[in-house]
């Protein structure tokens, strides 16, 4: 076993002629909150989907928890929690039925189910809504339920793909509190976002632009290196530099 939760080495993913992920390399340590930043279409989602075993890399290597994604996606799926951009819940099932279904397909043992369900309901703060139809939940609550459903099997590594998009700022703040809780319990959280203020909450970030990683480090390191005060400024400066280099 390695000390890295995620290792990406020279990863290339093409769709036809379009290069979505352009020779990306990076490593994420265990227990880290790793932020994946960049505008829409930068290749963040594609990278995450490769890491979850949903897409096969064109070339290069990626491993999650020491397991190669191209070789053994099944093992990876047992060890990760994934939350996609759309909160993939069943609208016509109640909160508890959704939880029940996902613990079924994650193979949570029968004797642990009640415990995991109560943990998730409590963590997401939706204990009183357990019998509510999911369709009727406000956006922020749906998002917490989706996160809850992704961690029912207690995975060591979590991939959250823009989990806070379309949610109001207060709910977003609350959601980050949850991410911290999960990280403190020893889980690795790999989270993508295009909200720059959220970058400040991460232990380390990678800035992705046009399929390539153009900056990598802790928010403080990046800000000091460029002597600017916010991640937003880091982002702008790095993108301008990248555009200049391309031109």
């Amino acid at each position: 076993m390695t000390e890295w939760a995620v290792e990406i080495d020279d990863l290339l993913k093409k769709f036809g002629d379009f290069v979505a992920v352009d020779h990306v390399s990076l490593k994420v340590g265990k227990g880290e909150i790793f932020g994946f930043l960049g505008p829409n279409g930068a290749g963040k989602s594609t990278t995450i989907r490769v890491l979850c075993g949903l897409l096969t890399p064109t070339s290069g290597r990626a491993s999650v928890g020491g397991v190669d994604v191209a070789r053994d996606p099944e093992t990876i799926r047992r060890n990760i929690g994934y939350m996609s951009q759309k909160f993939s819940l069943y609208d016509d099932l109640t909160v508890e039925e959704n939880i029940h279904f996902f613990s079924g397909i994650y193979g949570v043992p029968k004797n642990l189910r009640a415990e995991r369900r109560d943990y998730v309901l409590k963590m997401a703060g939706i204990e009183e809504q357990r019998n509510t139809m999911t369709r009727l939940l406000p956006g922020g609550w749906k998002q917490r339920l989706a996160l809850g459903c992704a961690i029912l099997h207690d995975p060591p590594i979590l991939f959250l793909d823009e989990p806070t998009s379309g949610v109001d700022p207060i709910a977003r703040r609350g959601f980050w509190d949850l991410i911290y809780q999960l990280s403190e319990a020893g889980r690795t959280v790999f989270v993508s976002t295009h909200y720059m203020e959220e970058a400040e909450y991460c232990h380390r970030v990678a800035l992705m632009y046009r399929g390539r990683v153009i900056a990598l480090g802790s928010p403080r390191e990046l800000k000091e290196k460029l002597s600017v005060s916010s991640m937003e400024d880091v982002f702008i400066a790095m993108i301008e530099a990248a555009d200049k280099e391309a031109a």
């Binding site: 979850c52 075993g53 096969t56 759309k86 993939s88 029940h100 397909i105």
Partner: protein, 379 residues
């Protein structure tokens, strides 16, 4: 394969079915509606044919012929006009189907032993009914004239030796002795109902996961395509069994269709057929990303062939050879043979084994294809 994961999918899918008024209505209303519509309305029996008779002869002989028509339940005499025009008119106005014209010299010709023709005018715009009605009318006229002529000959010859008519055929119809169309429409209908329910309902299920974005979530879990396919299939299988019970119950109790063969064999072969149609729906669903596309494909590929090419109402033997060849690919064709065999003939596996084997093979092949297609779609 993991049963816990498969079971979780089945439970979830049952909830979807029970909570979606659209699919629930379809699951329950389709069999009932189809049975009522086709069982009652699709009567291919021809009787009480509305008839007008113009008797230009007006003799005892012609009146006796009219009596023959009156005595038959196949005809309903609406009147006796005294001209030709009235019959033409009535056919044009759809008031009658048949006009009988007895010519002025009818009795004279018969008495002198010559050919005596009766004119039959028939509305041919519904060719099927017309040819059946024509057959009945011809039968009445011929039988009567034959009867008369041989009576005449007997009188002349003074011999009782030649009985009339010279050759008599005794018809015995087996399996559906009164030739009631409901007796073969209702069993055949079970194939059509199961085909529609099986493929249309399931065709929506995977397409819906793609449309809602939940497929992506499912794919990131340890759930395998085979488990997803079987889990969904199991839920819709329950629906199919409910519909099968409605159809058999309705057929036997309401329509009084005889169930002469083994009930167990009926259930067993129905399950095989149902597996095939369910997997077909899933196959279609796996290939399309929208519910609409899947639904249209399912309607086109299940309802039409099951209805037209299964031999359910339209005899396959009278179709052009190309169409006949195509019908061999329609699983409903084999199932209709089985259904009629069990219901009407009371035969068992010793006769129906080949059809049964085909249904089992079809289900297995489509299952493999559906799972493979889903796997391809994913990667």
């Amino acid at each position: 394969m993991n049963l816990r994961r498969t079971g979780a999918v089945t439970r979830k899918e049952m909830r979807h079915i029970l909570r979606d008024p659209r699919s629930l209505t379809m699951a329950l209303a389709v069999p009932v509606l189809m049975l009522l519509l086709f069982g009652l309305a699709l009567s291919l029996d021809v009787d009480h044919i509305p008839t007008l008779i113009y008797d230009a002869d007006r003799t005892a002989t012609s009146r006796a012929l009219i009596e023959q028509f009156r005595g038959s339940s196949y005809f309903q005499i609406l009147g006796y006009p005294d001209n030709y025009k009235a019959i033409e008119n009535a056919i044009d106005r759809n008031q009658i189907l048949l006009g009988v014209v007895i010519p002025p010299d009818y009795s004279r010709r018969i008495e002198s032993g010559k050919e005596a023709d009766v004119q039959l005018l028939i509305d041919g715009s519904d060719s099927n009914t017309a040819s059946i009605a024509l057959g009945y009318a011809q039968g009445v006229v011929q039988l009567y004239s034959l009867d008369l002529r041989s009576q005449g000959q007997n009188r002349k010859g003074g011999l009782a030796a030649r009985k009339s008519p010279p050759v008599d055929s005794l018809l015995r119809v087996w399996y559906n002795s009164r030739l009631e169309s409901k007796n073969y429409v209702v069993p055949g209908l079970i194939a059509v109902i199961l085909m529609i329910i099986g493929s249309v309902l399931t065709s929506l299920t995977i397409a819906r996961e793609w449309e809602m974005g939940t497929m992506e979530q499912l794919l990131s879990t340890p759930l395998r395509p085979t488990e997803l396919v079987l889990g969904k299939m199991a839920a819709y299988f329950v629906v199919g069994i409910v519909d099968l019970s409605i159809s058999i119950g309705c057929g036997v109790l309401v329509f009084q269709v005889p169930l002469r063969g083994s009930f167990l064999l009926l259930v067993f072969t129905s399950c095989l057929f149902l597996f095939g149609t369910l997997f077909w729906g899933i196959y279609l669903s796996a290939g399309s990303k929208t519910q609409l596309e899947a639904y249209q494909m399912a309607m086109l590929s299940s309802f039409l062939p099951a209805f037209m090419l299964s031999g359910f109402v339209y005899a396959i033997e009278s179709m052009p050879p190309v169409i006949q060849a195509v019908s061999y690919l329609v699983p409903a064709r084999y199932f209709v043979v089985i259904l009629k065999g069990i219901f009407l003939k009371g035969v068992g596996l010793d006769v129906l084994w080949l059809e049964t084997l085909f249904l089992a093979g079809y289900a297995a092949v489509i299952f493999v294809l559906a799972t493979r297609r889903l796997k391809q779609k994913i990667t």
